[in-house]
């Protein structure tokens, strides 16, 4: 058998089956029978049957035939698509799928069940099987199409039909064109052709034909001038076969159309006899593609695509190298070429992308089946199906998601009775939702089931010995929730065959993390659970993808890092090193704002020697220190401690160093490199096999200057250094829609339980300072920051809030755009938080408060920095205001929160403020009072008329 052909048939049929499944489910859920959809199901099954016959796959043919017959009844309106019928059809679809995959399926049983749905008289027989010779057939005359289709309706009168076997030379058959098609059509006029076989013999082409007809034998004989013996009445077709339709039919019972190579081979162009088979034939002649009806798509092997991708990747690299070497600015043809290459690469990469909808749709069926099995009622919804993800990621995500969906049906959604008791609708809801957020795709699976009971999780984890009781007490609710991802955890008391074996959730987590994703849980006891998966758009390591990379240098060697992994780049002056790089337990750490980051020395990680530039000679010398904090020693840590007192001043040896803060699965750590050389668009190539086992790299690339550099693999570094990264506690998923007005705020706790927020964009510096460094002069406090002495103010001095308790360390916040430097002393627990619009604005902003918001279970007060600053230094502000007379400002801002915020800043004497809600209003106002306003402050994104218009 032609393997390629079989492969193609398999791929096509599986796709068609998926389609059938979708249609069936849709029909079932919509309740009604949509003729077009039924037709499509029928056609899909039909073409599978045809193809299977072509490839001699008898089981497939049998099963497809029965499924087809059943659908035919539905199509004709003899039957309606009841759940029972849908069940049987779905079972048949599964059976067909199994057979296609080369697995076994109980064809006999499936057929019997399909038949059970059809009124007895209409039950089909298996007789029509097209089997043109694969090697020689160019013409396909599908006898089975006609026979199968025509037979089903022709029920009652069939008893009078006689069956004839005709064997005659082709030349002798009068009045018929000498091709299989012609003969077939000719005989179809008088009866039903069961099989047609043309074979070469000494006497020319011999036609073997089986015909079923109501006509007497002599009339047929005279019609075609058949000699006696050439027309033999065969046994009447066994009607009994309908009762046992799954019995394998003898070969003679199959319609065979075979055209030997010699006669003029014509393609089918004559008008086909019957409308249903015409449709089928059109399909056949277009190559039998079931998918052909689905628009202009074609199937391409992924290997070919990958090769194409690699070739285009090389083109991009070569182009980049040329760009760095020559000046092509004047050369239009090169510009065109360059643009084409970019476009081409983009579209090739695009081919890798897949709609996540295809993944979502896969679950519609399991959810339904599972729900039926468990006696639950579940409604399945999918949102965001058009979000695109890299194919490899979708594939890798399929299993984890499958597990989660099954879990949701099995564990989360309650039985209908329980749901009713709890005042919910009987029908549970499972929703898959995909959307973009900050360069990643979030896929959420939400259910409105029972939610996860923290207490049960906790006690279960203790029972199972996953954690100790003391430890469990100390854990935060979030940590408790994440215990469900520990290996060997399952809360369902009885395990079912569906889920609950205690394996899975940990596998889900590992699998998702393997593709660079993360998972988060939000649950509300009694109301439901959301599992949110954060997936990268593409895997950075995907070969031949074009990514933006940061080129770093360490120990004289260059490496690239994918820019997506880089969170921040910090230059560290030798002078500052001591202040920021500290040692903890023998390891270097860096203090970044409120976080302590692990530092990985890239040289050590890659077993390279550390080097430094000698400050006097400029030579590159080996650095023998074991740690940065250790300035003298090559020896043990104890020794380093002994010499610690000698460390004064900055590091004289090392040049500026650069700390690259990497974001790995939402946790941060830093790698220390000698320098950042630049940022380049690079094409990732996979590492040659000989070097693939080397840890820490995920590929290599060729830079614009033609040099080959290795690409660092963040996950590899983490693994190699054995870093145990913990999720940042402040991280949280922005569940549901990310509001466009989300704003980053610094939140902090002044007195315990009292939270405040300041917009991040209004802050120039946040620093932790020691209490002893605060100098007091009278009642005022000052802090020496580099060259400037800045006055400090405390919230409690100007707001009616509980004073901050005396501690050893404070955080200092320097507001931006104040007339004179000023520091605000704030308390602990600094975090960056995304705030949405839901801010309750207070009308009176004079008191230094813009409003309050509810965030993560706390009431957070939004501090008006400028009101505070004004109170602290009235003279500075007053001086500024004197400069201007009365200024009239028009503020156009649709967002109430921002309008409030901005107006609060402008509410100083000398400014008259007019606030309008959109561009149109602003425009109208301007038309009326053209000369009135001195300034216009406008939001760009606004309803009706935007800022530009």
């Amino acid at each position: 058998m032609d393997e390629a052909l079989a492969e193609e048939f398999k791929a096509e049929s599986l796709a068609a089956l998926a389609q059938v499944e979708r249609h069936l489910l849709r029909l079932e859920s919509s309740g009604g029978v949509d003729a077009e959809t039924v037709d499509e199901i029928f056609r899909a099954v039909h073409s599978i049957k045809g193809g299977a016959g072509f490839l001699d796959l008898n089981d497939l043919v049998t099963l497809a035939h029965h499924a087809e017959a059943l659908m035919d009844e539905v199509r004709k309106g003899n039957l309606s698509l009841t759940p029972a019928i849908a069940d049987q059809m779905l079972a048949a679809v599964d059976g067909l799928g199994c057979l296609l995959e080369g697995e076994d399926a109980d064809v006999a049983d499936l057929c019997r069940r399909l038949n059970g749905q059809i009124p007895a008289a209409a039950a089909p027989q298996i007789d029509g099987i097209a089997r043109p010779d694969v090697e020689t057939a160019a013409v396909e005359v599908d006898a089975s199409e006609a026979s199968a289709l025509d037979r089903v309706p022709a029920s009652p009168s069939v008893s009078a039909v006689t069956r004839y076997c005709i064997e005659a030379p082709l030349a002798q058959l009068r009045g018929l064109p000498d091709c299989a098609q012609g003969i077939f059509e000719g005989f179809s006029k008088i009866g039903e052709v069961c099989s047609l076989h043309i074979r070469p013999s000494e006497a020319g082409q011999m036609v073997e034909l089986e015909l079923q007809s109501e006509m007497p034998a002599d009339i047929i004989a005279s019609l075609y001038e058949l000699h006696a013996g050439q027309l033999v009445p065969a046994l009447p077709l066994a009607k009994a076969s309908a009762a046992v339709p799954d019995r394998p039919q003898p070969a003679a019972d199959q319609a065979v159309v075979q055209v030997a190579p010699s006669p003029p081979v014509k393609s089918i162009s004559s008008p086909p006899p019957a409308p249903p088979s015409s449709q089928a034939k059109e399909k056949k002649s277009s190559g039998g593609h079931a998918a052909a009806s689905e628009g202009s798509s074609m199937r391409v092997s992924t290997r070919l695509l990958d090769e194409l991708l690699e070739a285009t990747g090389n083109m991009v690299m070569a182009r980049n190298q040329m760009l760095s070497r020559y000046n092509f600015q004047e050369d239009i043809s090169f510009a065109v070429l360059s643009r084409c290459i970019t476009e081409m690469h983009k579209s090739v990469v695009q081919q890798r992308m897949q709609h996540i909808g295809s993944l979502f749709e896969r679950f519609r069926r399991p959810v339904r089946d599972l729900a039926n099995k468990l006696g639950k009622e579940v409604e399945f919804q999918a949102i965001g199906a058009d979000i695109e993800l890299d194919r490899t990621i979708i594939e890798a995500f399929a299993d984890p998601l499958n597990h989660m969906v099954r879990n949701a049906v099995d564990h989360a959604i309650e039985d209908p009775a329980v749901r009713q008791e709890r005042g919910k609708s009987r029908v549970g809801r499972i929703m898959l939702r995909a959307y973009h957020q900050s360069g990643e795709v979030i896929v959420e699976i939400e259910d409105d089931g029972g939610g996860i009971d923290h207490e049960r999780v906790r006690s279960k984890a203790i029972d199972k010995g996953l954690i100790s009781a003391e430890k469990a007490r100390a854990m935060s609710p979030r940590e408790i929730l994440h215990l469900i991802f520990s290996p060997g955890f399952s809360t369902k008391d009885q395990s079912t065959d569906v889920s609950g074996r205690g394996v899975g959730m940990d596998v889900v987590k590992t699998n998702v993390e393997r593709i660079g994703g993360a998972v988060e849980v939000h649950t509300n006891l009694g109301a439901g659970t959301i599992f949110a998966f954060r997936l990268p758009l593409t895997q950075t390591v995907v070969s031949s993808s074009l990514i933006s990379a940061i080129v770093v240098e360490v120990a004289g060697q260059r490496f690239v890092l994918p820019q997506t992994a880089v969170n921040e780049i910090i230059q560290i002056d030798p002078q500052d090193q001591r202040d920021y790089i500290k040692q903890l337990d023998g390891e270097d750490v860096y203090q970044l704002r409120d976080k302590v980051l692990a530092i990985v020395h890239l040289e050590d990680c890659l077993s390279l020697e550390r080097t430094f530039l000698h400050p006097l000679t400029g030579e590159v010398k080996l650095d023998r220190r074991s740690r940065i904090a250790d300035r003298r020693q090559t020896e043990s840590h104890e020794n380093a401690q002994r010499f610690a007192h000698q460390r004064t001043g900055g590091d004289r040896r090392r040049n500026r160093q650069t700390l690259i803060v990497l974001d790995f699965r939402r946790a941060l750590f830093g790698i220390l490199v000698d320098a950042v050389v630049g940022v380049e668009e690079v094409v990732v190539r996979s590492t040659p096999k000989l070097l693939q086992s080397v840890p820490g790299f995920c590929g290599h690339t060729v830079l614009g200057d033609g040099s080959v550099v290795m690409m660092l693999d963040v996950a590899g570094i983490v693994e190699k250094r054995g870093l145990r990264l913990h999720d940042l506690p402040e991280h949280r998923f922005q569940a549901k829609s990310a509001l466009k007005t989300a704003q980053q705020m610094i939140t902090f706790e002044n007195a315990p339980g009292e939270f405040f927020a300041i917009p991040l964009m209004m802050i120039t510096l946040i620093e932790q300072i020691a209490a002893k460094d605060i100098h007091r002069i009278g009642k005022r406090e000052y802090y020496q920051l580099k060259d400037a002495t800045i006055p400090l103010l405390r919230l409690e001095e100007h707001l009616e809030v509980t004073p901050h308790r005396e501690v050893e360390a404070y955080h200092l916040i320097l507001p931006a755009r104040v007339p004179k430097p000023l520091g605000i002393l704030v308390g602990s627990n600094l975090r960056i938080a995304d705030f949405s619009e839901s801010f309750d604005a207070h009308n009176d902003s004079k008191n230094g408060v813009v409003g309050t918001a509810y965030y993560e279970g706390h009431v957070v007060t939004l501090v008006d920095l400028y009101a505070l600053a004004e109170r602290a230094m009235p003279e500075a502000f007053a001086a500024q205001q004197k400069l201007s007379g009365v200024t009239r400002v028009l503020l156009a801002e649709d967002n109430k929160f921002f309008a409030k915020l901005v107006s609060s800043y402008l509410q100083i004497p000398g400014i008259e403020l007019e606030v309008v809600e959109d561009g149109q209003q602003a425009w109208d106002l301007l038309q009326r009072q053209r000369e009135y306003f001195d300034f216009i402050i406008s939001d760009i994104e606004m309803p009706r008329m935007n800022g530009f218009e």
Partner: protein, 184 residues
């Protein structure tokens, strides 16, 4: 039957590989070392859009005393190795790189001889090139028993001395971590 053997010098000895497995012989290119790899791998090169790992034959075929230092499993590279490798291709003008063909691009002759080459091109770093020797099978001898590694598959007796035929495949198998060879 005659065979064409492409000869080259490594560590002062003459070795050779079947000429049809050689894609091209190039002057040394800058080799990018890959920290952490087996030290017999000099690094990675890119030649006209084709990337290849470079095998330093001088380290592979080093005498036994030195060979005992090779430990492909640990794969750590010390300072001396780095400096040495980084010099390759910049200063050692005597050496040559041979790009070995991958299986896909092997010529018809090689395919007929059923040469199982490699899944991707590899480059060999040698001291200098010799020439192509046409050798008769009558002068082909099995390798002497006292050779410590199985990289040498045959020894040819030529007019001006011996030539050892090496099997790049055996070297590759030795370099690939266990199980790595079965991928793809």
């Amino acid at each position: 039957m005659n065979a064409d053997i492409c000869g080259f010098m490594v560590n002062g000895y003459r070795y050779g590989v079947p000429v049809f497995s050689v894609e091209e012989i190039v002057r040394p290119l800058p080799i990018t070392p890959v920290p952490g790899s087996d030290r017999r791998l000099a690094g990675i090169i890119s030649l006209r859009g084709v990337s290849a790992a470079v095998i330093d034959l001088r380290l592979c075929l080093a005498d036994r005393g030195e060979e005992s230092d090779h430990s492909p499993s640990t794969g750590t590279l010390n300072y001396l190795d780095i400096s040495r490798i980084m010099k390759i291709g910049r200063e050692d003008h005597g050496c040559r790189l041979m790009l070995m063909e991958d299986r896909f691009h092997l010529c018809q002759e090689a395919a007929e001889l059923n040469i199982q080459a490699f899944d991707e091109p590899v480059a060999l770093l040698v001291d200098s090139m010799d020439r192509v020797h046409r050798v008769r099978s009558t002068v082909r001898h099995p390798p002497p028993a006292n050779l410590s590694h199985d990289f040498i598959t045959a020894v040819y007796e030529l007019e001006d001395g011996f030539l050892s035929e090496i099997s790049v495949l055996n070297i590759l198998n030795d370099l690939l971590p266990a199980g790595g060879g079965e991928q793809s």
